[in-house]
Symmetry: C2
Subunit: 199 residues, 2 copies
């Protein structure tokens, strides 16, 4: 239409670039941001600016942190013999929530994807290899996603890590707990048969 | 868990305050904001700051605009005899998209809601009354939402506007086009019967 408010349209356009936000949501968020009292709006804007200024990758594991090293790499009570390699910082949170894993992590910040133009050079592989020089490390768990990209990355890593004489493991495939067999896809069922264990 | 990154947690918390954004979405958005290249992030932050600084209410109709008066109030080709009263700036967009309405608008910025502590004083009613002093105005369309609050506001307004000797109308109630009768609620069906028209 002929009647537009350029700063508002620009704001909606910017918000719409965020992942998972469509035009309607962007509109709603834009109007909400305009309606906020000044201190609330400043708090949000400052949170973005501040987080971006203070958060960077841990010098050791490449997870996101505001210190030089992340709290997990710094913790005295973590098992330093095991490194769990994940694609994304959020995956670290997922493992931490299990309260089962007590080793260290390494965040690749992506997975190999020729389609998206992501090759091994874009991942934090050098930083991982540096860590493997430490004789304390005994096992590397490849915990990339069970997707084409995650599998390709795990395969690439397993070959890359061969010379290190480490135990290299991959997460178990199988039926998700609480799921129904009826809805499991064939490949998952097949993998859960292959990986069956004696009780 | 014990391992937290305060600026990141603060950012997630701030994003979670936005309407329709849960914890998972807030997390995803926060990580996305951190991953953006600096110019992209600045563009978003600036869009928020800039829109908030430049957008305010039109001096006439209280719609949002970056000028003193909004483009609709300023347009030479709009019918100045009709004012369509809506709750929200987004409602103006909805009517404009019909390309049917060529009159003016008045944005109340809310509806009367004793539950939410919104009384007539919080709405842009004075600004509306000022406009009605113009003898060019012949009709006021009450286009508040068909909700309890919108109805209460329309009732209140219709009484408030009595002394002005204007035509005061309310949007038609009825079955939504493209809907199925089977799924229409009883009150809507009843209203669509009451408002039936000869063909």
């Amino acid at each position: 239409m002929a009647y537009t408010v350029p700063p508002l349209d620009h704001l909606i356009e910017q918000i719409q670039k965020l992942p998972g936000i469509g035009h309607k949501s962007a509109q709603r968020l834009a109007f909400y941001l305009l309606s906020l009292p000044a201190p609330k709006a400043e708090e949000l804007v400052n949170a973005i600016v501040d987080a971006r200024a203070r958060i960077h990758e841990c010098a050791v594991c490449c997870n996101l942190t505001d210190g030089e090293r992340c709290p997990i790499c710094d913790a005295a009570d973590r098992d330093r013999s095991t490194i769990c390699v994940v694609e994304d910082p959020r995956d670290v949170g997922a493992f931490e929530r299990t309260r089962e894993y007590n080793g260290l992590y390494h965040v690749l910040h992506g997975a190999i994807s020729p389609m998206a133009g992501v090759g091994p050079d874009q991942l934090r592989l050098k930083q991982l290899l540096v860590r493997l020089a430490d004789p304390a490390v005994r096992e590397v768990i490849l915990a990339t996603n069970p997707t084409v990209e995650g599998e390709a990355t795990a395969m690439y890593l397993s070959r890359l890590l061969k010379p290190f004489e480490l135990k290299v493991t991959r997460l178990a495939y199988g039926i998700p707990v609480g799921g129904e067999l009826e809805y499991a896809d064939e490949i998952t069922l097949q993998r859960s048969l292959e990986g069956r264990r004696e009780l």
